[in-house]
């Protein structure tokens, strides 16, 4: 659920014909003073953060002059509210409030219907209102094919004791509110308080709007960067991860960080689940062993090997984790060797020093486990692969054992390295990357097994060298599924002539920052 800030929500309301206080978004004390001057009347300054109860936390100030506005803005920009820094302030005309109301839209999963909520007691949260004034809260299910008509709004609002002209005004606003909510695919929306000003006008004094993240694609105008449910703005690494997900529709890659910073002394894991239910079950199992998780991650829905590879590279961009734990439902319908190959490529490149427990149960799990055990036996960190007969609880215990045996060594983030491109390299584009073949090396190859390894049959031999058997265009459009089989075979059994470059935008720079911090930490310790 992509949350909108108050100022963005109000813009939508205004477009929908609902009156909102006149105002402007600013990001400096000078701009705040200028906005107050333009408005030419007393103003209110409101911190734009995703937090409730901003007033008590110093996020809302009143100002009678531009000078006061400047001062108030300086104060607001200096504080953190519920751990969030303030980057924008909404400067608005101060409304002379006569009475406050609550209006909200939620989706009821039992009725499978939107519900409009209204209360003649606004201001606080609806749960509190309902507890204190149950007779002043009313609710109505909405027939989505008909919409929410003004007469329905009237019937809803009158139950809370509102009458006369105010009733008609509020009904009109509420009907429009549903239209806006539906148009912008609201997962939930709230006008609280909705106020009646002394001039008789109804205004949405505050508004909270959450867009269904599955519908964000319909609203490019909202400029939502990461369409994910978070209770805080996304971290830099989450933004990088989201780009991977957005640019590759094969399967799911869902990632978020669970700790602000990983403490070196703590027993923290990098977590790579598969499937929502299996991931949650696995997460519960490792937490029971006393671990904390640096991140939550879900690679499922038959993801390509390249997607799992990128997920692993992103997880391993978090310093100080003590182990890598992958586990899903245990009986996955997806072909598990794709995940195994993705993890193998990533771990090999990283020269992984921490242990990994990888529970890849499901279709072709034997092949998946064989890949892991064959190719990862020589990296410094111990890697154990498990299947559907091994419970998450057992795997969590193994993780603990391996970490203890490894002396609680912390993962060190390394720079992202790319092999240099020499002129002789034969290369072609894949859906999200590039395959580079150093054909000079191929002359020493006796098996030419990359040709067979490719299940899509896109390679053929030409003068003893592998070349594309199909057009470059088809390869890039998806004939190459980025299964990584050719590279894995060539690296471990032959001449190490094939390299598949799978870029992750922004990760190189991100890691450089992490490494600088890592070095500073270790200098300090010395």
């Amino acid at each position: 659920m992509a949350r909108l800030f108050e100022y963005q929500s109000k813009k939508l309301l205004k477009q929908g014909g609902i009156p909102v206080p006149e105002g402007k978004v600013v990001s400096s004390p000078e701009q705040a003073a200028e906005a107050a001057r333009e408005l030419g009347r007393p103003v209110v300054l409101k911190a734009q953060v995703w937090a409730t109860g901003r007033a008590e936390k110093g996020g809302i100030h009143f100002a009678d002059s531009p000078e006061e506005a400047r001062k108030a803005a300086r104060e607001i920009l200096a504080i953190r509210i519920s751990g969030l820094s303030v980057e924008k302030i909404l400067v608005e005309e101060k409304i002379d409030i006569q009475s406050e109301y609550f209006a909200g839209l939620v989706i009821d999963d039992a009725e499978k219907s939107p519900v409009m909520l209204f209360s003649s007691k606004g201001g606080t949260g609806i749960e509190e209102i309902a507890r204190k004034h149950p007779d002043q809260v009313a609710r109505a299910y909405v027939n989505v094919s008909k919409g929410f008509r003004e007469y329905e709004a009237r019937d809803l609002i009158r139950q809370t004791g509102v009458f006369g002209k105010t009733l008609t005004w509020l009904s009109r606003v509420l009907a429009k509110f549903f239209q806006v909510s539906q148009k912008y695919d609201a997962r939930s929306a709230e006008m609280n308080p909705l106020v009646l000003a002394s001039d008789g006008t109804v205004y949405a004094a505050d508004c909270h709007f959450v867009v269904d993240d599955y519908a964000v694609f319909r609203h490019p105008d909202l400029g939502i960067e990461v369409a994910r449910e978070f209770d805080r703005p996304p971290t830099e690494l989450e933004k990088i991860a989201y780009q991977v997900e957005k640019n590759d529709h094969r399967g799911t890659f869902y990632f978020f960080q669970m700790l602000d910073e990983v403490d070196e002394k703590e027993n923290v894991l990098g977590f790579n689940g598969a499937g929502g239910g299996g991931s949650m079950m696995s997460m519960d199992a490792v937490l029971d062993q006393g671990f904390k998780l640096a991140n939550y991650c879900d690679t499922s829905g038959n993801p390509s090997a390249s997607k799992v590879y990128r997920a692993a590279k992103i997880i391993l961009s978090q310093p100080h984790i003590k182990g890598y734990f992958a586990s899903g439902s245990g009986v996955a319908s997806q072909e598990q060797f794709h995940s195994a190959r993705g993890l193998t490529k990533a771990f090999k490149e990283e020269g992984l020093e921490i242990p990994a427990v990888l529970r890849l149960g499901g279709n072709f799990e034997e092949k998946a486990i064989e890949i892991l055990h064959t190719y990862l036996k020589d990296i410094p960190g111990k890697v154990e692969g498990y299947g559907r007969e091994d419970s998450p609880e057992f795997c969590a215990e193994r993780m603990k054992k391996l970490i203890t045996d490894n002396d609680f060594l912390s993962h060190k983030v390394r720079p992202l390295q790319e092999p240099e491109i020499t002129e002789e390299v034969y290369s072609f584009q894949t859906p999200t990357g590039e395959i580079r073949i150093n054909q000079e090396k191929c002359l020493n190859c006796s098996t030419k097994a990359c040709i067979e390894a490719c299940t899509q049959n896109i390679l053929k031999l030409e003068q003893q060298k592998p070349v594309l058997a199909i057009s470059r265009e088809d390869t890039e459009k998806g004939k190459c599924t980025e299964c990584l089989a050719c590279e894995i075979f060539c690296t471990f059994h032959e001449q190490d002539a094939i390299f598949i470059h799978l870029p992750i935008k922004g990760l190189k720079e991100y890691r450089e920052k992490v490494i600088r911090k890592q070095e500073k930490c270790s200098d300090r310790r010395k």
């Binding site: 499978k112 599955y214 209770d231 499937g275 239910g277 991931s279 009986v331």
Partner: protein, 303 residues
């Protein structure tokens, strides 16, 4: 018996010529599902593994006679259109496979299916299987695995997680406990048939003797199951596992439905309500077969 699907159900595949549609048509046919027709607009006249393709659902019905079920494999943003088309043409059950279907689209599908007295499963579902009879969707991945993992019997399985649907059923099979029907209700916040509706169908199904649910944080599904059991509307024994103990409020864990909003939908409150109602809540998925076996044995002794 079994619920929702059996070997006689006539099945339509919407989006049959797409990547997923083709692969899963093969799985369903190999398993024994009566895949009767497919639809992809503009591709009428082709065939996929011997299944004729039509341009519209109405045309498929005209050519093949009444169709009971449609399994939908179209891209997420087209799911609403496809579901409405199927229901409008008289299909009684739509299985909506895709992930990331906008919630307001689901609400519209729900409204229309209620009006037409049709049902739907999903979105974001692996599908369902009545072991030995038919598979709908992609559950099992391949027919060979589906035959190996699921076996006919008396346990009804309903799960909000796709992977766990297979996992639980597999562990039951291994323990010698067969299943009547296995259904992945879907991971989203609003789904067609949810746990309480599925459990009521199992309650009426003579083959089903016991039900297993895999619940998760978020939504009101498990709470409504607790209500049904308390009210005596579900009398067959229910074994439940609830995932997401570690989840904190306000954060979503993969499934759009797996989000705790305030205190509602938390792990703790679900477990408490289910236990109070008399549902057998287990702490680990591995305990499900043990508990189910024990309850079936007790039930057998009583009879």
């Amino acid at each position: 018996m079994s619920i929702l699907v059996n070997e006689q159900s006539k099945v339509l595949i919407q989006g049959i010529t797409g990547r997923e549609g083709m692969v899963r048509t093969r799985l369903m046919k190999d398993y024994g599902t009566q895949v009767t027709a497919g639809v992809t607009p503009g591709k009428g006249g082709q065939d996929v593994y011997g299944v004729p393709v039509y341009d519209s659902v109405k045309q498929a019905v005209e050519e093949c006679g009444e169709l009971d079920i449609s399994v939908v494999f179209v891209p997420a943003f087209l799911v609403k259109e496809a579901a409405l088309e199927a229901i409008d043409a008289g299909v009684r059950l739509a299985v909506l496979i895709p992930d990331r279907v906008p919630i307001h689209d689901v609400l519209e599908i729900s409204r229309f299916s209620k009006q037409e007295q049709a049902r739907f499963v999903g979105p974001n579902t692996l599908g369902l299987v009545s072991p030995g009879k038919a598979v709908l969707g992609m559950i099992g991945g391949r027919a060979k695995s589906a035959r190996e993992w699921f076996s006919p019997g008396s346990i009804g399985v309903s799960s909000r997680s796709g992977g766990m649907t297979s996992a639980i059923s597999y562990y039951l099979t291994k323990a010698g406990l067969g299943q009547s029907t296995i259904i992945h209700v879907g991971g989203d916040a609003v789904v067609g048939l949810s746990h309480p509706e599925v459990l009521q169908l199992f309650e009426e199904d003579p083959q089903t003797q016991l039900m297993v649910i895999f619940g998760e944080i978020g939504t009101s599904q498990e709470e409504r199951v607790a209500d049904l059991v308390s009210e005596g509307r579900i009398q067959k024994p229910v074994v439940a596992y609830i995932g997401g103990k570690a989840a904190k409020s306000g954060t979503r864990f993969s499934h759009a439905g797996a989000i705790v909003e305030g205190s509602r939908g938390s792990h703790e409150s679900k477990v408490r309500l289910l236990k109070q109602a008399g549902v057998h809540v287990v702490d680990a998925v591995a305990d499900i077969p043990k508990k189910a076996g024990q309850l079936l044995k007790e039930k057998g002794n009583k009879q």
